[in-house]
Amino acid sequence: MAVFSSTEELQDVMSLLWHEIKESPDMANKLIQSKLIVQFRYREPEGLLTIDCSDAETMKIYTGPINIKPMIEMSMKADIAHEFWLGKVNVPMALMMGKIVSRGPTPKALALLPVIKPAYAIYPGVLEGKGKNAQMAG
């Protein structure tokens, strides 16, 4: 069974998590310095999340369709995203196994993985705040 039951629930959780990341200077500053616009495209259920750091000053977080051209697109099942934020996904392995599709300069996005690692500890709390259990997708 999929972890998220609807687009709304998925986007809500992801948006909340990214707002927490935005509030954490250690993570936010380095992400903003990257000046990247990264779009996450989820399926099962469908969902869209865009993180725009292009002005090098603020991190803007959008859910749903938006008229911004991302520099990097990462597409995956929503369950993979859930497992990722639980710290259970080896991203290079997932790319090799075809579970993640990355369009654009992938290395730039991969380089930010260590930066967002502290968010693994935040995610279970975000889920609980939404009445969900981190163990749902094992």
Binding site: I72, E73, N90, V91, P92, M93, L95, M96, M97, G98, I100, V101, S102, R103, G104, P105, T106, P107, K108, L110, A111, L113
Partner: protein, 403 residues
């Protein structure tokens, strides 16, 4: 490899067709793939050396008129790829053949993307984002190093934007890798050694990578033996077909290994240095390999020891003067792992390869440049597969020591 319980996928849809003079039969392979007009991507040096002749003759005799594009520079760029695409479209080519080293092969792969997808090639940069099969592709390596003939990636320089574009997709696997050792007889000693060390680096980095698995390990180990045993001879006696055959096979096997297990810190630095100074990929790996091995020693001692025991146990030191590969069962893991690093250094010496970045023609490295290189290397995808965590400081140290 960490545990047999870890999930993995090993894939290689490419038919490996190996044998002396197999290039003369390439027309049959084109016919098997249903092709009638083949684009042959190569470079001028290979045309001048007549290395492409057996394949061209085979195609001409079969009535499959080859369309030859020989304008590929070392470390190919987007403009070259675009010219080749235009040419192939104009001629109506339905099969893509590459005859050359990694630069030619990567070019052919990118050309194939452009032949089957409309729009700017930059828009297809990424991993897994091609959505459909490309034209049938036959890749014929004339160097023994990159393993590009069995890999699912291509790297192309985008001079305009000063970066390297990375394409990774299962649709970049060739239909056929045609390995004809005779095509390598003319490869000069320094290129034989340099490209060979690319393959050695593929073996050693894939063997300890975070995504290594039992299948990739077996290929890396066996390819390692073939390379340590034969690369010095292939370098000094270019017409030794036994040595050429062994190293060509090993390079292909190492290619299968890294395609499924990834590489590591040595490749991350080599990509970065090559991107900035245009140094040869294999040569840059050669210089950096001992440093990369030492950096990873604390996390991979057991694996290096295993690699050494396999190498030394195969008896390579009977035919080649490696003092560090005389099998000694009393060595503990630490001693065996260190012996592996010394064996790599002995191999570099036997092949007459440089030991410093300075010898590759890199000018003085200022603190600023070292930091810039280290930071760029930290964003190279290869580093993600490195067994131990790597810091910018680690890379700065390697760059300083290797200079």
């Amino acid at each position: 490899m960490t545990s047999f319980t870890q999930a993995f996928k090993f894939q290689n849809p490419t038919i490996i067709n190996f044998g002396l003079d197999t290039a003369s039969g390439i027309a049959d392979l084109v016919a098997e793939l249903g092709g009638s007009k083949a684009l042959v991507v190569t470079d001028q040096g290979l045309v001048d050396h007549k290395i492409v002749n057996p394949a061209i003759q085979s195609l001409e005799e079969s009535g499959c008129k080859p369309v030859v594009f020989s304008d590929v520079p070392p470390d190919s760029d987007l403009q070259c790829v675009e010219r080749a695409i235009e040419y192939a479209k104009r001629e109506g080519c339905d099969v893509v053949i590459a005859i050359g080293g990694g630069s030619v092969i990567d070019t052919a792969k990118a050309v194939n993307i452009g032949l089957c997808n409309e729009g700017d090639l930059r828009d297809f940069e990424g991993i897994n984002c091609l959505t459909h099969r490309l034209k049938p592709m036959i890749l014929v390596p004339t160097t023994a190093g990159t393993g590009s003939e069995v890999s699912a990636v291509a790297m192309i320089r985008d001079k305009e934007n000063g970066k390297k574009l990375l394409y990774g997709s299962r649709f970049l696997f060739a239909d056929i890798a045609l390995l004809d050792p005779r095509l390598l007889v003319s490869l000069p000693p320094h290129l034989t050694a340099a490209t060979g060390l690319d393959a050695v680096t593929h073996c050693l980095e894939s063997f300890v990578s975070t995504t290594a698995n039992a299948v990739s390990d077996s290929l890396a180990l066996e390819a390692g033996i073939l390379l340590f045993a034969n690369l010095p001879r292939a370098t000094s006696c270019g017409d030794d077909l036994e040595a050429r055959s062994s190293t060509l096979l090993a390079s292909c096997m190492a290619g299968l290994a890294f395609t499924n297990a990834g590489v590591g810190v040595v490749h991350a630095l080599a990509h970065t240095i090559g991107g900035k100074y245009g140094t040869h990929h294999g040569l840059t790996n050669a210089v950096l390999l001992p440093f990369g091995l030492r950096l990873n020693m604390s996390t991979t001692e057991k694996l290096y020891a295993r690699f050494w025991r396999h190498l030394a146990g195969s008896g390579v030191s009977r035919d080649m003067p490696y003092t560090s590969l005389v099998y000694d069962p009393s060595l503990n893991d630490e001693q065996a792992a260190l012996a592996l690093v010394v064996a790599v250094e002995e191999l570099l010496k036997l092949c007459g390869l440089p030991r410093s970045l300075r010898e590759l023609g890199i000018p003085e490295l200022t603190d600023e440049v070292v930091m810039e290189l280290a930071e760029v290397a930290m964003t190279d995808p290869a580093i993600m597969f490195n067994p131990g965590e790597v810091t910018v400081e680690n890379l700065v140290d390697i760059l300083r020591e290797a200079f």
